[in-house]
Symmetry: C2
């Protein structure tokens, strides 16, 4: 099968001058990659006629499709539409359906619809207009000698919506790309190389049409399975069978799939078990509670928490024994144990979880260097603790502690 | 003065396929912009000889300098160095000083130095080698007909260090760019257009050699003053005079300069006043405490805080009156007032601050729609409250509440 090639062209002085980061082209690349389309070049040019027309011609010579973002505003420095009209030797006409949409878009938001806004409804006659339901600048689609040009707005959520609903399906059909099915498997609590070692045999036995990628981030590793074929339901079944085989090898590290976050997975688990939780965070400074409360509906299982940054609050609020602090210090197994148990009681919750550690850069000693962190989980029957030896970097230590606390709760609840 | 033009060339399949985001080129753009150098094109190509050589020639034809990142690893798919050697018709030789550095780099980290690693010390004879103290792949510098090519590693912190310490000074000297001095003025609590309106006369009176840019982000607006001349100390003085003139117009919104964050500014203010703080966060769910504790040394002024997500904890822990909740509800001026006062007392702090609101997407009513948030500041003498009417987006509401609480503390302390 001939490889289908794409180029991505971004238009706008604001990107050249470093005023904004172009996140669109990475997103587009990764979507095209999932369709089996190979991006061979990305280019950003400024708002000048010569640069834009030159970039069109160069891209057309190299690729089967050119995906363009940006330069679609209504002002005179927005040149994408007139340059496309010139390139495809086509006049620019008013598109009545876009005009109605743009007018409604402004009026429904209580904004005045001006003559300038009207220009958003202009498009080259040669183009098929792609309706942009989230904004005012439409997408346009051009075909020429078996090649395709697509122009899209630069506003990320508008571009993504247009791509997902219209452009990707049209590209898949025009270029008759195979069916591709992806599944993200999300793991926590194990490093990339250890995970790879655990699932080596499984990975080696993957069938020809299914490939695996490791996508590591701070404290987590995502596995992406990509299946290529001609029937989505068959691919889905094949991937599910592989996940079933993976479970005995790495199931305890897997907290969810696709867009599920760790805090969401922990929330679902708490809901499913009908349990409530309370936190006592010293080292993580409220970050676990912030993560938990980013999830809509978290009030169903999150009772509350404290950040007892000074030791006397660990004693007064959570009932940590002064003797524990004297003998073992605040960064100790004994202390996080009493903190987790204290949080449970203080908030009348089923579960308590806690952290205490030396985030750095100061506060370290030979016995307890920067990066020493203790965390705990208590459910009234049992208290589970864990010691972490993290990094020299304060922000990274806070982030890793937050992930470790959530993971300790997840693992303890999943027993 | 002739405008100096630059192109940025990024090399690597992993960027084309969307596996990583290229943040380097935005950073480089913005640094060049500050030197008065205009970026006319950014290009990303994959790891193929033809694409790389083609991109070199195209960029040289258009620009005065070509800044290249990526493709410098020691494996066979890393082609930047051999392609540069071919382009500048130069043989590749072992650089002894780089070899010593790379060997030391591996050995000092307890890693084995292999034959493959040795290849990191190879560079074209035509190049001036730029020492990369943070990594193993060196930068290289080429001059040809008054134009400059620079190759740098793709690892962001290595590239940035190389740019700041060697590349930017060399470019400034080679192209005799003027001296440029920047100052970021950071504001909070006022929208871009309102701020612009307040400082209109000041902005219009800026001298020719100083320009102003508005850089808005969530809840904040940065003002960037850029002064161009031939003496850094004079420029610094000119900018300071302008800031002095700005203070009576917008001083109350300015919390800091350059890299200072809002949580850092609030921390400095608390330290300067010798005051400690405690938080009671319902709507912001611990996010203010997380922000405060990201700052090293925050234990000096941060006593601790609670997240009383359920109403009974507002009563039990903070002493909010049951009647207050019954009559006014948790999202009310009366409730955040009692929460802030309660946090002060519970943690024995000088200052208490609080939030309570409807982050969404559920929980709204006609009287209190999603996005309704109350915040408060209490110092024992006085309690200051503020009502916010935010958005429909949960995460944005949490972020804006966090910023507003910190800003309320800042403003109240600055009285």
């Amino acid at each position: 099968m001939k490889q289908i090639l794409a180029e991505i062209l971004t238009i706008g002085d604001e990107i050249l001058y470093g005023q904004i980061t172009d996140t669109n082209s990475q997103w587009i690349s990764s979507e095209l990659d999932q369709l089996g389309i190979k991006v061979v070049r990305k280019t950003t040019v400024g708002d000048t006629e010569e640069a834009i027309l030159g970039a069109f011609a160069e891209a057309e010579a190299r690729a089967d499709m050119v995906l363009i973002t940006g330069g679609l505003g209504p002002t005179n420095d927005d040149l994408t539409m007139p340059m496309l009209a010139q390139y495809f030797d086509s006049e620019i006409v008013m598109n009545e359906s876009v005009l109605t949409h743009v007018k409604h878009f402004f009026e429904s938001r209580g904004r005045t619809f001006t003559e300038l806004n009207k220009r958003q409804a202009l498009a080259p006659k040669a183009a098929e207009v792609l309706h942009n339901e989230l904004g005012t600048a439409p997408g346009t689609w051009y075909e020429k000698n078996g090649k395709v040009f697509v122009s899209m707005p630069g506003v990320p959520h508008e571009m993504k919506n247009l791509m997902k609903t219209l452009v990707l399906p049209k590209l898949a059909s025009f270029f008759q790309t195979p069916v591709i099915y992806h599944k993200l498997i999300k793991t926590v609590g194990i490093g990339e190389s250890f995970l790879a070692d655990k699932i080596k045999d499984w990975e080696e036995s993957l069938p020809e049409h299914i490939s695996l990628a490791y996508l590591p981030s701070v404290g987590q590793v995502k596995l992406r399975l990509t299946a290529i074929g001609d029937n989505r339901e068959h691919l889905k079944k094949d991937v599910q069978e592989l996940i079933d085989e993976l479970m005995p090898l790495a199931g305890s590290y897997i907290y969810g799939y696709d867009n599920t976050t760790l805090e969401e997975a922990v929330g679902q688990l708490l809901k499913a078990k009908g349990k409530t939780i309370a936190l006592a965070e010293s080292c993580s400074g409220g970050y676990v509670q912030h993560k938990i409360t980013t999830i809509a509906g978290s009030s169903e299982y999150f009772q509350g928490g404290v950040v007892p940054y000074h030791n006397n609050h660990k004693v007064n609020l959570l009932g940590v024994k002064p003797a524990t602090l004297e003998v073992h210090g605040a960064v100790s197994e004994a202390c996080v144990k009493e903190m987790a148990e204290g949080a449970r009681k203080l908030f009348n919750a089923d579960i308590g979880a806690s952290s205490s550690g030396i985030a750095g850069p100061g506060g370290g000693s030979e016995e307890k260097p920067v990066g020493t962190v203790w965390i705990a989980f208590a459910d009234g029957k049992e208290t589970i603790t864990k010691k972490l030896q993290l990094t020299q970097n304060r922000l990274l230590n806070i982030e890793l502690t937050q992930i470790s606390v959530l993971n300790l709760v997840r693992k303890s609840l999943s027993r």
